[in-house]
Each structure stands twice: as structure tokens, then as C-alpha cells.
Amino acid sequence: MSTKPEEHVRYTRNRREFLTDSMCGFGALAFAQMAQAANPLAPKPSHHPAKAKNVIFLFMAGGPSHLETFDPKPLLNKLSGQKRPAEFGEAKYQFVQNDAKLLGTKRSFAQYGQSGLWVSDLFPHQAKIADDLCVIKSVTGDMVVHSAAQYQMMTGRILPGFPSMGSWVVYGLGSEASSLPSYCVLPDPDGALEAGQPMYMNGFLPAVYQPSMLRPGPKPVLNLDLPKNVQFDSRRKTIDLIKRLNEQNPDGEDPEFAARMSAYDTAFKMQTEAPEVFDVMKESPATLAMYGVGQEPTDDYGRRCLLARRMVEKGVRFVCVVSGGGPGDLQWDAHGDIEENHLRMAAQADQPIAALIQDLKQRGMLDDTLVLWGGEFGRSPEAQTGKGRDHHNLGFTMWMAGGGIQGGQSIGNTDAIGLKAVEDVHHFRDIHTTILHQLGLNQDALSFLHQGRKERLTEIHGEVIRKAVG
């Protein structure tokens, strides 16, 4: 079953209009059914048959280096300390000046898996899942500063105020999670990122598509816990009172009132069932060990990756697990010392990432869960302050796995020093298009009329990365 593209475009915005639009001729529906029909989070049919149902985005904030991870460049090592030869062309950086010298990498690369994928010794664990990874070495973005690049990676636009991937996906497909928010962001407890919360937000889409920003600690969801001194049973009685008084309201019935009551039921369900999901310690010792939970430095990212799996298991549609936060050096933002920064960041994230893929796979969940890995840009072939690398948006690496993506391959190439994507160049919008495509969503049909424009995640038409989807 497919949805006509127009159905995603509507002027009518509030629930009443939504409801009455979809209700014409069905006036006799029971209110409970109407509330269900009007639930904007009810699962919606995709535009075409879907390969993936859920997305986990492993966001390596600050911009991990392609040159230290998946994109070996022997020539860069040879030219280390020299100025970039003119034939490679120009690049604009945030800090590095034109006279900067190239910087070779200290990482060593080898080929892994049956596919012989190149992975550096920075990621010994990801090397083990090489055959599941579809590494795209030719990603580009338009911006070389964090905030704008983060906006573009998340929302398709270099400005704040546009809906993020997660919000678009939930808008398009609805939610399968009855006791959890359908779109969750798990930020790094070390701190926030340059683009701040707006990059994750719903933009001009209704608030129902906003993310839940999960907090560190035992109470990750805002307002999910009862205030101090209030008992659960007592609060249940209060909710019953609200329900009863609303039913007795002489204003009569209104489908919107029914929808409100169903929101209270969902809220109560979330209160009772979600804490169970958040308790990752319920997992077997073997699973915990696999993610590195209980060990440093993997404990935190391991917990969050594990939580992502548990949430997807419960039907959460889109989870973003952020690695890096706070001051630049606590992100992958290695201006000062690429070695020190990336070894430290990789030590936190590599094992949990590989564990997540293996875990999803052994549970049969990798087939319909698309995992995306990467940051808002890569890093410059030139050195910054001797040992660091500046931001770099002209060619860098992201990978996808699961969700119908063909693993064990690398797509595209940068030039011989990793400066520019030169083969199978894919802008962020192609990444977005491909994710939507795997979810059964068409980038043009998934639109929302705003300020006179049919806004889309991709803004300008993106391409499905055919080699990735097979």
C-alpha cells in the first residue's frame, strides 16, 4: 500500500483539522477509534516497500578524520611536512591558512573481512565487522564550521529552524513505540555541541515530532518521574480524576478531547514501562561485556549504544547516539593533536559501536535497522598547530550498515591526499535520500508546506546511493 505524495502536504495543522480531514463521512466512529485515527504518531504506510524500519545514528561529533580511520593515503605520508601541491586545488578551512603543511598519519591500515575493507588500527573492533559496513569515502558538505555543518548533516540546511532527520522520519512513518518517545537523542554527558539542541529539533513540524533529549543518569526522560512525595497509586487516582471530570465536562464530546485522554494513557504507560527499558543492567553479563559496560573508557558510550538497541527493540524509530560533547577536544574535533584526540575518542566508542552491530545482527534486528556512522565533516590533510587537523568538508567518510544496505564495500574515493572527493561524490543530501529510501520514504513525497514552499529534508533533489542499496 502506498501513500499519495500529496497526503504529506497539508495546510491544516491542528488536530481538529487533521481529524476532520481524515474523517469525512465517518462521523459515526467511536471517539476512542477517532482518537486513534487522529493520533499523528500512528504508524503510517511507507511510500514504497521499506527495507529498514528504524535508524540508529552514531554521531561522531566534531568531525572524525577520514585520514586516520577508513581512507588510507600513502601519498599524504610521503608529502608530510610539505605544502599541498598545486594540482590538488584549493580548499577553505576554518583556521588553517594557505601556507599550511600537509600532515601524514601515524595510523597503520590493513584490509579486513572477506571484503578486504581498509580500516586503520584506530578501530580494531570495527575492523571485525568490516563485512557489515558500507563505507562511503566521498561524502561532502557545504560548510566548514561546526554549527552550520551540524545543521546541514542533521536537517539538510545550514541554518537552524529546519526539522531533523529523526523528526522527518517519524513524521513520515509514525511510531511503533507505545511506551517510549519515537525519536530519542542520547547526548554525550561531557556536554553539548556547537549547533546546540536546535539541530535535533522538529523545526516547523508539529511538536509531536520533537525529539526526547535523554539525560545522563538513571532518569533519562524529562518529567517521566513523579515529583517527590507523590506516590504512584495516588497519581493514578489523579489521572483517573482528570479522565472522569473530562468525561463529565458539559462541553460535550470532541475528538480532540478523546485524543488528549489517550495521550494521558500513553504518558502513564511511559511512566510505568519506560524505566524498564532504561535499565540496561538487565542485560546478560556477556552482552554488557561485549559493549564494554562496566569498564573504562567504554562504559558510557557502551551503555548508550546498548540503550539504543533496547529502544529500537521497543519500536523507537530513530535514535541518535552522540560521541563527543563539550569543549572541542572532548569531541572528535582534533585541532591540537590528532593522535591523542582520536586514540582517546576511539577508545571510548570503537568497541560499543562494533558490539551494537554484532548485537543487532545476532538478534536478527540488523536487517531492518539502518545504522549510520559519521560526523559533520572530516579533517584537513594539512596540519594545524603542528599535530592537529582542521575541519574539512570537501571529502570525508561516513558508513552505513544494516537496513538493507550492502555491507562489505567501500564507495567513492578522495584524491591521493584525501583533500577532495573525486569519485562517486555524495553530498549529505544523498545520505539523507538513501536513508529515506531504505525506510520506504520518497524524498519529494515526504514534504511539509511551510512559508509557501514544500519543504523536504533534502531541499534540492538528492540521489539514492545505488551502490549502497544494491
Binding site: 536546535p198 516547523f204 545522563p216 480524576l241
Partner: protein, 641 residues
Amino acid sequence: MPTYTAAEKRHWSFQPVTVAPTPSFTAPADRAWAQNPIDAFILERLLKDGLRPAPRADRITLIRRVTLDMTGLPPTPAEVDAFVADRAPDAWARVVDRLLASPAYGERWAQHWLDVVRFGETEGFEYDNHRPDAWRYRDYVVHSLNNDKPYPEFVKEQLAGDEMNPNHEQLRIAAGFQRLGAIRRNAGNQEVASSRNEVLTEMTNIVGSAFLGMTLGCARCHDHKFDAIKQSDYYRVQGYFASTFDQDIPLTPAADQAAWKKKFDEVEASLKKIESKMKLLKGDELVRMQSEYKAKEAELPEPLPSLFSVKNDPAKTSPIHLLARGEYELKGAAVGMRPPGILAGPDLPELPLGTENPRTKLADWMFNGNNPLPARVMANRLWSYHFGRGIVATPNDFGRMGARPTHRELLDYLADQYRGNGWHLKPLHRQILLSNTYQQAVTNPLSGKLAAEKDPDKSLLWAFPRKRLDAEQIRDGMLAVSGQLNAKLGGQSVLLPVQPELVNLLYKPHQWVATKDAAEHNRRSLYLIQKRNLRLPFMEVFDLPDRSASCARRESSTHAPQALELLNGDTSSRLAQALAARLRAEAGPTPAKQIDLAYRLATSRLPSAAEKQTALAFLRTQPLEEFALAILNLNAFLYVN
């Protein structure tokens, strides 16, 4: 000059405002109902579909509706009683006049305008620097509305206040309009031309949305795909802003400024020192130094008061070119300044960049009498806020992708009235509020069934559309009902104390310093700081718009996090306790009396017998605080009929 096709020229919204004869009726019931031309136009359209209007709502419903509509607050029990008891024929008109004269009118309607002009008090993006003086613009709007400033003056002050009189404080503040949007700043190699292009784009887009109901922004990269807006039109409008630059005008003596600068330079020097040390460190040491840096950064002195404004700097005038795909590097033909051609006509000359007082010229052109859009757009906004839906359902877009007017003649009637009354909003509000159309009940026993089939979203207004309160109305209403509202007018914006987890979602958490005076925390939501990178969950969950672009109409969604916020959130818990205390203090210890008062405060009416029984039964075992919390969660509180 661009040319336009006959079909483009025929588009409805570009036609002159024409006043159709007011429909007349023969049936006595119709004649009685059609009290003013608004009713006549509405009734005529209803009859076409065989529909009849709803009866008048009861008095309690009416005073609650109009008070929330005009002031954003629920009526007090005394105000309800007075209106219910007032049997004079002009009782309703006097209520309307009282509300129009109330300072809370400006506070409520300023909220709408701030949505339209994308008002924010921080810069957004990475730095999200605070604009400590942007609140002056907010107060300027409140003041302008309360004084019923004629619209051309209101618009001109915002577009060109600095040109009108550079020494006039309020005019300079008004001109701050141009800088209300987000702006990207970052360290390192600045791409000056790129950043300037972003600023100019921002300034241009808002003109189309806010004043003209035109989606000018769609023509930045190419000719508009649907409307008669060429790419050259877009850049010629941008031409009016080519010389416009930010200006902060200090309000403190030179000595204070010098002292401030001294302190600022000191802190900055230490920051630089730490920075240079940081370059030599790594690992834990580096992290430690980074937190030292953050602590030092927090010592930067608070900015001194100044006027947040703009000025022309002709020497720095940016050349304006058509830009392929909107990219500043892909320059096409250079242009001057000129209004959109479809409205300006072929004869209006293009002026060169650098022409004196450019924005005054734009503002004057807007109201030169030939442009039908400002009056239509503003009249439609008014209608949209009163009824929850505009005559044109897309108030920022009167183009082909926008909605068609449901009542074109009525819209022109209102636009004509608006222009004819000297562009004052208050008489127009009054006319709308006194209409029978506005005073209808939410249900229609006569036509309801047929109407629900023919026009389920009530766009023809066969009954009054029920509305959920918006975020500000809910919070302000909770403060008022619980007796906590601090009704102080105007002044600096308030930062509420929020949970540290929320502050930690900021890249620069030290930016959020809660206002020290706790009494300020109970001020109306209008006065809460609009920080782009920290949005209060309470407001956000109830559809506070993202103010990155103009918002003409708020969403009204319903979802579980709203329930969680109203049940478990800090605001609800605190105000439910305050409400319980108020009930005890004012109604005494008797539960029946407490219940009556709670209903009167929150819903403006007494509870029905059934509601009262239910509440009494609850209070036999449960605490009053929980009952108070339930009251703040009731549909009867959160919706307006």
C-alpha cells in the same frame, strides 16, 4: 524590468481592494442575525450551503473567550459575575472596550507580532550570544499596540526608524526589527562575503512574509516557481538593505563604558593566556585547562545597556547581484533597489544602491495606496488570531501555493475598514468582537450535522471553533489561577531557573543565569527570554514556534509529553501547590467550597452536579494538591469555547 503574464497579474491577492455591497436578507431571522457587514458576508456564504449560524454562546463562555483572546488570561470570577449580572444592552460592548483599553491587550497581541517577526533574544548558532537589549523591541511592540499606532507608522518605524530620526530612542529600538533573526558567527577565517549574504537574506525574507504575504524567499535561488516573483525582484528588494548594518548605541556614560572595557580586556587577556597554554597541553591537563577557560569566560562582564538597532553605512554598501542558486560566489547581474515588480508596476524606477534613506522609501511605497497587500494581510492576521484560522488560512502566503480566501469580499471589507479608519487595529477588533459571528456557540444544534459533513473544520464559521490555549496562555493561566501571577509590565527579560540537565544542553552553559529575584519567575510568558538554543520544555511541548523564520500560525498538537509536563513538571507541581493553598485560604476548609472556587478560577464556571460529586469523592481520600493539579489538567481549563 521583468514582465509578468496576464495570468500572473490576475492573481486574486494583487487586485485592488474592492468593497462589495453588503448582502441583504429578506427573512426576519437572517436580518436580525446580520448585525454588521461581517455577519452579512458570513451568513450569505453559510446560506449558500444551506447552513445556518449557531446560536449565541452563553455569557460565561463569551467572557472567557474574549478575555483569553484579548489579554491571554482567563477572566477573574469578579469579571465573570459582573458581565453575567449586567443586563444593559451594551454590556458586551463595554466588556470589549474594557479589554481593548487594558494594558494586557498589548501584551497578548505583541506575542502574535513577535511570532511574525521571528523575535529572538540571542543570536543562535554556535555562540548564541545574548542580545541583552532586544527586550526593548518587545516593549516597543506592546506599547505600539496599546496606543493603537497606525499600521503604516508601525511598519515604517521598524523598517526605517533609524532613518526617520536617528536621535529618537523608540525609533532606533523599532529599527532593531531588522536584526531579530539568527546570525552565524564563528572564529577563524571569516568569509565576510558569505556571512554578509546570510544577513541580507535574513533581512529580505522577513519583509515578504511579515508585511506582504509574499514568499519572496522562494525567489532567492531562481524565479519563483508558482508566484509572480522574479529572482531579480528578490534581489532588488534586498537592495534596500545593502547599506544596513548593526548598531548598538550605548546608554551609559563614557566613564562606565571605559571601566567596562577595562574589565573586559582583562578577562579577555587571561583567556588568551589560557588558550596559549592549552596549545601545549594534552589529555587530562588539557581538559582541566579547558574548564578553567570556561570559568574565566564566565567572568566576562555583563554588557552595558544599549539600543539594539541598525544604521546605514553608505561607504560599506554591499553590491547586490543576482546569485545563481543563491550562492554568493555565483554572481549574476548587479541590481539596485525596487519593490516587487508585480506590485510596483512597470513605471516605478529602479533606484541605485546608495540612494539616501532607502528603507524609508520601501516603507513609503508599501503604503502608497496602490498596494493592496499590507491591509489585506494584516486584516487577515487579526481574523486568524480571533477565530483560529484566517480567511486566508496561510497568513504569510497570499500566493498561488497559499490557501484561497474563504470569504474574499469579507476580507476586502475588513481591509477597507482598516485603511478607512486610519489603519487602527482597535476599531477593527471591536467590529469583529461585536459581530454575531464571533459570539456564536461552539456547537450548532440547527445545522451541526449537515455542517460537519459539508465543512468539518468550520472554515465557513457555522459555529465558533474551539481552540486549545497556546503555550503562553496555559502558563499564564496557571499563574493567574493559582494566584501567583506577577503582572508587572515590561522590562528586561526573565531567565527561569531550569534543571541543570537542560542547561547542559547548551554549548555554553554559563550563558543561562537564572534571574535572581524569584518574584520575576512568575511574570507573564511574554517576558521570558527567547533564547534560541534553550527552549523551555513547558513552552516547547505546547508548540511554541521555532523563531528562526516568521511564524504566522501556531501548530496545536496533542501528545503524551504534554501530559507528562502538566502532571510531573516542575511548573505544574509548584503551581498546583499554590492553587491548593489559595483554595484553602479563600474558600476555607470545606471541600465543596474549594471545588466551586477551583472551577470558577480555572474554567470561569461552577462545576456541574456530577463534576462536584466526582471531585468530592476524590477529596475524601486524596490531598487537595492533587485535586488542584487535576484542575490544571482539565480540558475545561486548557480549551476555550
